[in-house]
């Protein structure tokens, strides 16, 4: 009898430990302090984006502000809350990064095939994408995420995203859902595993991450996941596909973004976020 009692005690203790471990916040406490001070390294990117938005001139002589009004006051407030969505002028479902790229190539006159420009745009350390994306996203602070699926293209994309979320692919036979839906709430090393679908994690992206001291947009995040967990190719080819990111702004990435953001509907946007 005594042994049984001990056993029960041990089991109960174990479950308590697990419970203590799983209750983890999104923003760690030492970063919460920085947030309360109002000092956030991500705001440097917002400032940079604002400067670019008002002053950067394309080959056509137009700036972002000549269409959208100074500081995006004309029609950009709340735009991020509705993204990704179908745009008739590009004929695609676009997220924030793709929308900025197509604005710059269609209306400001940058050449999309110019290698120098694309390098500057696609790279995280480049001049244009990350600061502009952070600034535009920060314009819809305090609003609720409101992604609607009315267009048939959006519906198709959403279904694709849902399928991708649970599809097991790549060298490790892994899917997003394994960590973020099945094991959600537990830990991987020291980090809590959030559930983007239930917990509305999308509200603080784009986020500044202390791990590598830079700003990440969701595009970067999803593409890095593809690379880190070998999710990219169905038929895995050791020579060509080993640890490779999908091309930027591809359907794979945008479909997943649409699925996650639709799940976060109703969450209040707080951009830029601050993560470990």
């Amino acid at each position: 009898m005594k042994e049984k009692k001990y056993l029960v005690g041990i089991i109960a203790g174990g479950s308590f430990l697990v419970a203590a471990v799983t209750a983890q916040e999104q923003t760690p406490s030492h970063l919460q302090e920085l947030l309360e001070l109002g000092m956030h390294p991500g705001h440097a990117y917002v400032d940079e984006g604002r400067e670019l938005f008002n002053t950067m001139k394309g080959p056509n002589g137009k700036t972002c502000a000549s269409c959208h009004g100074e500081d995006g006051s004309k029609n950009l407030e709340g735009a991020y809350a509705r993204m990704p969505r179908y745009y008739t002028d590009i004929g695609k479902v676009a997220d924030l990064d793709l929308r900025i790229l197509s604005c710059m190539t269609q209306y400001m006159g940058f050449d999309p095939k110019d290698k120098k420009f694309r390098k500057e745009f696609d790279k995280w350390s480049g001049k244009y994408r990350v600061p502009l994306a952070t600034f535009v996203a920060s314009l819809s602070n305090g609003m609720e995420i409101n992604v609607q699926i009315d267009d048939p293209q959006e519906e198709e994309m959403y279904k694709k995203g849902e399928k991708l979320w649970f599809m097991r692919v790549g060298a490790r036979d892994f899917s997003c859902g394994i960590c973020h839906s099945v094991l959600a709430g537990k830990r991987i090393r020291l980090q809590g595993l959030p559930d983007p679908v239930k917990a509305k994690v999308y509200t603080h992206w784009p986020a500044y991450r202390f791990g590598n001291d830079r700003m990440w947009t969701m595009e970067d995040r999803v593409r890095s996941c593809f690379r880190a967990y070998f999710l990219f190719e169905k038929k895995w080819n050791e020579k060509s596909d080993w640890v490779k990111k999908p091309p930027p702004y591809s359907d794979w990435v945008i479909a997943l973004e649409l699925y996650m953001k639709h799940a976060a509907n109703g969450g209040v946007i707080e951009v830029p976020g601050l993560l470990r």
Binding site: M39, H40, P41, A44, D47, D213
Partner: protein, 109 residues
């Protein structure tokens, strides 16, 4: 990188005349110590902020002499007092010859 040397400065919005208030700032800077090595074994050259100066209406408030022991993207806070509204200018430089300036308005009521 164009991003080095960009700073954000926060000053409280409501300041009463003669009150002591806190000026906070973060400078985006790699702050290399000169002791780290890259993956090929070569040392990464030192690159850090050496001096931060605070001016209020062209009058010096303080000078901070900083060195390689300070973290990446450093955070500075200074307590100061103002009896009139004006412009707070912060000048900072690093050991590679970079010089920057940032100014913010201070409103005293």
């Amino acid at each position: 990188m164009a991003r080095i040397g960009r700073a954000i400065v926060r000053v409280p919005k409501k300041i009463k005349k003669g009150d002591v208030f806190k000026v906070q700032m973060v400078i985006t800077h790699p702050m290399e110590t000169g002791r780290r090595k890259d993956r090929h074994g070569k040392t990464i050259p030192a690159h850090y902020i050496t001096k931060v100066e605070f001016f209020f209406n062209d009058k010096k408030v303080t000078t901070l002499h900083t060195g390689p022991a300070i973290s990446k993207n450093p955070y500075f806070a200074v307590m100061m007092k103002a009896t009139e509204s004006g412009k707070l200018t912060i000048k900072y430089e690093d050991n590679k010859g970079g010089k920057w300036e940032k100014s913010v308005p201070v409103k005293v009521s």
